[in-house]
Symmetry: C2
Subunit: 329 residues, 2 copies
């Protein structure tokens, strides 16, 4: 099975590539940045099963060449600019061009070349303001109220993909991810909001200490290996009843308030790392660990339809991330 | 006051241009197609107050030239592809490029050149499926469930405009229009869904007869001169409390089932025109007059904030359209 993963050299993309390689797929990782050194090392054992192709989803010729060169059978479209407010202010056009038009172009090329199952990697962000006003988020039921350009473009690209499925008769589903943490997260220049866990690991690696916020916002955390497993399950499921699936850990309470626990794990790799939790009002070092509480997504659909079971709560995830960090050192 | 109207040579655009000229504004009508002959004649009396500039909202250089050449003080952004399913199937990329990216480019250029009040002409279509499932549509309350590319792009462009307002500090509002009928509607090649009224007038003008559907879908009809008046009111209102306003006639019941009445009016201009209403199941000649019922939009906001009062119900509108048709003959 030959699977194309766009955004395949980015954080979530590499996790998907890794899961596909591990089960024997041939994978084309299409992305703007090269694979990190650690991924090259880790994937060397798969030899010619992995093709890394550098390119931009806005480049029609590159896409066409890609589909002509490889007999792509399945597609995971994850290429995206995870834009923060600074980028929204400076360059809104590129956010729309990559996130929305890029999706049309990739899906259109895939359709033209007879690709089978396609998965569009959307985001819980597509729920927009409902993330913060609803108790629990259900696909196609909870209204989407996108407000930022990231939210707007993820929502628009996802709806566009569903519409193209209808008018072109595609075998395509969309999946909305929770807040992903885990291996292969790095700063590629297009991910403006890095996870608190990554920020802490970066501080520790740099020999710096960390002040943790007095209060952690509630997030719908999910481990990147579970994200990859869920997407592979969607690629494989013989019959999917819906066009949209939430994908998260289904246990957001377990993750809440575990940043200090994560710091404790980091000390196993970086014994000199010091951290403390500040008092309310004191400055801290971790952005995006703020006071905003995000509702969890209901994952019954993907559990039922794709037979997906999340394997990682915080304990398993933090242990695995420590192993991964050691391998990268 | 110098006002730029993008899509200014299209159906709704010409109505806005006409209303602005009538009250003494200098107007730049920017559009892809030239003004129709009848509009040239009708606007000749305004002399150099009207500038028609042909161009594409995707053309950055053309936009830049426009804002450099004219001291634009206010903007109405109406340029759009009103896409039907055939165009969605054939060319989804252009729909997104014009409707969403075009909006970013126009608003960005306007911002760069210090334009004041901006009005983005959105559509009731931004409510998407809620048009058909809700009883009444309220701004920022009724969830948007866009499904077609036209709905998706109008929604995304509107949300993008509101976001750019926030990050750039713009004086910008969006307005969602009902189903517009009235003067200056014509087939420009980018409006895939022509109104039933236009279709009937076209048949009558061509010396053909018409079979009317047994049942008319409920629409939230609004006369194009009221649309223009509402948008001018939004340009002028000293203080607007919201970022989004519905704009329709506020009397959708009055319009329902009046197609035969409109045909009667058409006979005043085209005495040989014959029409009949078919029985249920019989074929008819008028597409988009179908069985789907669309909920009306609540217009309290624009009435209260902009002092807008719709002037046209069907009787006044049909009489005015007959006058207009006579002038065009």
């Amino acid at each position: 099975m030959v699977t194309l993963v766009t955004g395949g050299t980015g954080f979530v993309g590499i996790n998907i590539v890794e899961a596909l390689l591990a089960r024997g797929d041939e994978v084309i990782a299409f992305g703007q940045a090269p694979l990190p050194e650690g991924a090259h090392r880790a994937f060397a054992k798969y030899g010619s099963k992995l093709h890394v192709v550098l390119g931009d989803v806005r480049d029609d010729a590159a896409l066409d060449h890609l589909f002509t060169q490889y007999r792509v059978e399945r597609l995971v479209h994850g290429a995206v600019i995870t834009a923060g407010v600074e980028r929204e202010t400076r360059d809104p056009d590129s956010i729309i061009d990559v996130n929305v038009r890029g999706t049309v172009r990739v899906v259109q090329s895939a359709h033209k070349h007879g690709v089978g199952r396609m998965v569009y990697v959307s985001s819980g962000s597509a729920y927009g303001e409902s993330l913060f006003t609803e108790q629990r988020l259900y696909e196609d039921v909870t209204p989407a109220r996108p407000a930022t350009l990231y939210q707007i473009t993820k929502h628009a690209a996802e709806r566009t993909a569903v519409r193209l499925r209808a008018v072109w008769g595609l075998d395509l589903v969309c999946v909305r991810l929770g807040s992903v943490i885990g291996p292969w997260e790095r700063d590629t220049g297009v991910r403006d909001t890095l996870s608190p866990h990554f920020q802490l690991a970066r501080l520790a690696a740099a020999g710096q200490n960390a002040r943790l916020p007095a209060r952690e916002g509630r997030k719908d955390q999910v481990y990147s290996r579970d994200v990859a497993a869920g997407i592979v399950a969607l690629l494989d499921a013989p019959a999917l009843r819906y066009t949209l699936y939430n994908l998260s850990s289904g246990r957001s309470d377990d993750w809440h308030g575990t940043l200090a626990d994560w710091c404790g794990h980091l000390r196993k790799v970086y014994p000199g790392f010091e951290f403390r939790t500040v008092s309310a009002g004191e400055p801290h070092d971790i952005f995006a660990a703020d006071k905003v509480d995000r509702a969890p997504m209901d994952i019954s659909r993907i559990v039922q339809d794709a037979g997906f079971t999340p394997a990682f709560g915080p304990a398993a995830a933090y242990a695995d991330m420590v192993d991964w960090l050691r391998q990268q050192a």
